[in-house]
Amino acid sequence: MSDAVSRLRRLTALILKGFLLLATALSLVAVLLIIAYITRDALPFFKLRGLGELFTSTAWYPSGRPPEFGALAILVGSGLVTLGSILVAVPLGIAAALALSDILPYRLRQTVKPVIEILAAIPSVAYGFFALVIFAPLLQNRGGSLLAIALWLIALPLGLLLIFMVTDAATRSIGEDMASFARLILAAVLAVILVRGLLALSARLTLLRIASGTNALNVSIILGIMALPTIISVAEDSLQAAGRELREGSYALGATRAETLFKVVIPAAGSGIIAAIILGVMRAVGETMVVWMASGNAAQIPSPWFNFLSPVRTLTATIAGDMGEADQVTGSIRYHVLFALALCLLLTSFIANLASEWVLRRQKRRLGGLK
């Protein structure tokens, strides 16, 4: 092979590599451009109105005279539905991830995975449509009874578990023969109290009148369901990554499956589960259609703040909703305030993304010691 030919070969290889690198760098360019343009169109708002009003005032009247841009209620709204969706998705998601990684037999696992994939594939506007057209009337007409049923479904097993742990702790110091008898009595008493309490509470709930079905509760539940696939798949990957040897070591010492999972596997997979939660949260915070259609779109802080039955407004819904009118006058302050809100969203997603990356990297390092 002549010198010139091989030099040409190397040159073309280099050019090729450069070209590929440039194409790959598109994602870098895109991120930079997004930050640049969102910030560029957000700055005029801050220059005009400063930082204080947006974050501390609850008066959101962009079309008022004079216009007011207090987004505090909107921020609280976003926070509230995010919190709500975490409350729904995290317990369900982690329990489901445990089922998939350790509890379900292989065949059932394969049947369940498509369910999760379908839930993940359904477009958000379909979820929003469901939330508005089917779920909201349901909540409005039968909300009280639904909440009562949910109360029983959740509080009864949890309560029983608590009773169980309490009786166990209380009778620890008594001798063995007395212990089981004492435990039975104590458990019976506590169980009666639990059931009476639940009955009273559920009776109150059934009478509850929900004024409007489009509220924070509606959105929290739907967002929770939307976040489930993300949380389940990342958490399950994490749990699997803990490894068979770890589980075997625990079982060989005489641990039950629950003990192995809680005391060894979950702590080992801990960072991954946290990353799963962060990613699920990101999905909830960034969701637009569901909240736009079914949150009630009222820019007010509920009283008390945790009243999920009241309508709220989120950042995403505000941007989507107001832009239609704001765009009439591109360059107006209304146009720029929406970019300011978008900047908040962007920063939140960046921070959450970095956090989950860091957490995942930590987990790989920790378990790396074993491999």
């Binding site: 037999p105 589980r247 075997e248 070591g249 625990s250 079982y251 010492l253 039950t256 074993l370």
Partner: protein, 273 residues
């Protein structure tokens, strides 16, 4: 304090066959078979493993020795689609019987694995893990248990000042001794060892073999190894398995110097495996 040591026990007598009177069969296989689905890994093995002796199970890879070992503490339950036939007895109780409580079984029969698998926790929490599951000990009792186990495993001097360090920071050999200490901490009667030194360097291996010699007589030890010389060094009795079947079983000296079966002799002289 750990109660399983019987100080009044006579010192180890040397290898003896299981059917000699005076030595109880701690674990007894009677026509025991194990199936992974359709694949029969252990074929009609009949074998008595006596108490407080070290028994080695040897054979070429894939001959079913690990499967047999893991059947004793029912670790094979973790594999779906497996089943057994015949009897496997522990202290006269059927291990695969319907009324046997697996959790209690695994407390009385401990296991050490081929690759050291300490939990990503502190050294102290690793050792205390098993004990904490079954008993409620106060701080002093726990500390004493941990110290005794580490001493038994020959690791105490090296880690006594850093019990709170992460167990993964130990070397491979130390991790394996940690796993042994962890297994001993729950006070088992039997210790199953599945190729415990195959992932270790020669120096660590020698330390573990010394440890086995020390533990002998206090625990029944059943060790699976593909290293014949190791079996010759540490065990009182040796069982040779080939393709799932028990070919020969007897005192180690006899197996290694005057094997009765031709297959055994072929394996010893390296003609296969």
């Amino acid at each position: 304090m750990i109660q399983s040591i019987q100080p009044s026990m006579r010192p180890p007598q040397g290898p003896a066959l299981a059917d000699e009177s005076g030595l109880k069969a701690h674990v007894s296989c009677q026509d025991f078979s194990f199936f992974y689905g359709d694949n029969q890994a252990v074929k009609d093995v009949t074998l008595d493993l006596p108490s407080y002796q070290v028994t080695a199970i040897i054979g070429p890879s894939g001959c079913g020795k690990s499967t047999l070992l893991r059947s004793i503490n029912r670790m094979n339950d973790l594999i779906p689609g497996s089943r057994t036939s015949g009897k496997l007895l522990f202290d006269g109780q059927e291990i695969y019987g319907p009324r046997l409580d697996v959790v209690t079984l695994r407390r009385r029969i401990g296991m050490v694995f081929q690759k050291p698998n300490p939990f990503p926790k502190s050294i102290l929490n690793n050792i205390a893990y098993g004990r904490r599951l079954h008993d409620h000990l106060d701080k002093g009792e726990l500390q004493a248990t941990v110290e005794t186990s580490l001493q038994r495993a020959g690791l105490w001097e090296e880690v006594k000042d850093r019990l709170d360090d992460n167990a993964l920071s130990l070397s491979g050999g130390q991790q394996q001794r940690l796993c042994i200490a962890r297994a001993l901490a729950v006070d088992p009667e039997i210790l199953l060892m599945d190729e415990p030194t195959s992932a270790l360097d020669p120096r660590a291996t020698a330390r573990i073999e010394d440890l086995i010699a020390e533990l002998r007589g206090h625990y029944t030890i059943i060790i699976v190894t593909h290293n014949m010389q190791q079996a010759a060094r540490v065990s009182d009795l040796t069982a040779f398995l080939y393709e799932g079947q028990l070919v020969e079983y007897g005192p180690t000296d006899q197996i290694f110097t005057k094997p009765r079966e031709k297959r055994t002799e072929d394996y010893m002289t390296g003609r296969f495996g």
